[in-house]
Symmetry: C2
Subunit: 235 residues, 2 copies
């Protein structure tokens, strides 16, 4: 089975590890939003120090919202899984006929004959754990969550947001004028977004050049709009 062809095949289908997924989530917003906010303020605010304060306050707010949000979402997912698990164990006891029919229905939806539906159902319900496992996965679409996942994920997403956010903010530390900061910041941000988009797309098996352009485009549009709107309000 391990012909070169099938090997390629599996490499292509390779999905990102959890760590890489977290980095992508954190960096997508981290590289875009603080940069766009600072860009927006550059056109409307004289004092560069204010841009730095706003940028860092944004990074703090965004990284906590995403990291803590991710943590609590992970915990909720776990609670949800556990409560559904209990419920399914109860249901196969109290409503076995309904649950049996749900197993049959799954196989019917696959296009299998009544004979195979019946046989498959009979084998699955032989063992309660297997039965409940099956219902969790294929009736409810729930995978067992990793209990450590929530806190690791929160940390990774938060740090990625902070790193992504600081890169385009750094130039403002060294200039006296918002527009000067913006020029360097925009270059840094676009380069970072191109590189990030390239690797993100490569990781998920998409065209990396197209992905690089897409990601940089989002950043540029967000920054451009923030700039225009801030300038408009400032009057």
């Amino acid at each position: 089975m391990e012909t070169p062809h099938t090997h390629d095949h599996h490499e292509h289908h390779l999905t990102s590890s959890d760590l890489l997924r977290d980095i992508v989530i954190g960096m997508s917003d981290g590289l875009t939003v603080p940069f766009a906010l600072a860009a927006g303020l550059s056109g409307a605010v004289k004092d560069v120090h204010l841009i730095v304060i706003a940028g860092i306050a944004e990074i703090a707010a965004g990284s906590i919202a995403m990291g803590l949000g991710g943590y609590l979402a992970g915990k909720t997912e776990q609670d949800h899984y556990n409560s559904e698990l209990k419920r399914e164990y109860l249901e196969i006891k109290e409503l076995p006929e309904v649950e049996k029919q749900e197993v049959r229905d799954f196989f019917a939806d696959l296009g299998l004959s009544s004979e195979v539906q019946e046989k498959a159902m009979t084998e699955i319900i032989k063992n309660d754990d297997r039965w409940v496992d099956f219902m969790m996965k294929y009736e409810l679409g729930l995978d067992k969550p990793d209990p450590q996942r929530a806190s690791k994920s929160a940390f990774n997403i938060g740090i990625s947001y902070i790193i992504g956010g600081l890169v385009p903010l750094l130039p403002y530390f060294f200039v006296n004028n918002g527009i000067d900061g913006l020029k360097i910041s925009a270059c840094l941000a676009i380069i970072s977004l191109l590189i990030f988009g390239f690797f993100k797309s490569k990781m998920t098996g998409m065209n990396p050049w197209k992905g690089a352009i897409k990601v940089a485009f989002i950043g540029a549009i967000a920054a451009g709009c923030a700039f225009a709107i801030a300038k408009m309000i400032q009057g």
Copy 2:
């Protein structure tokens, strides 16, 4: 089958519609990040006008990053689905034995006997479309994406972010002092987050009171940290 008991059962498992899901995604960040940013600046910036400009620039940046990001992610998902679909059609022609084994393996993983594995596999591969459909869904875990979804979703997420972001920002329009704005803004934000968390949790079948507290807690922590950090930098 439609006994009151099974009816309850289905109501509980009810997952949110796509629109509600989009609103939740947009509002989660929209209600938190602009509020926390404005709160952060309230402690460090004298001019309320600047807080308003920064808040609106952040709403523009955040809504575009989330909305446009969601749109392009949706498009990418579609491209990915279509390229994998082509590949699977190719593979059942070129490597039928490998693909047959993958069908058997799926049923083996369910805990079914070799006899049922064989029968189910034989029935599934009778029809190429059904076979490919099966591989897409159960080997690759890919559901057919709705082609209209990406643009609708982008719009819904973006608008939800804007609405969520404007609510706690509004008080700053009517005060002369950041701290006064912050007091009203914080009340509005916490109330909004409690209500939002309540309905969000209700929708996903979780404890709504716990959910309300969690969501408001994230907002409060994000705002508190942004405030502390901004004050620290401002010196």
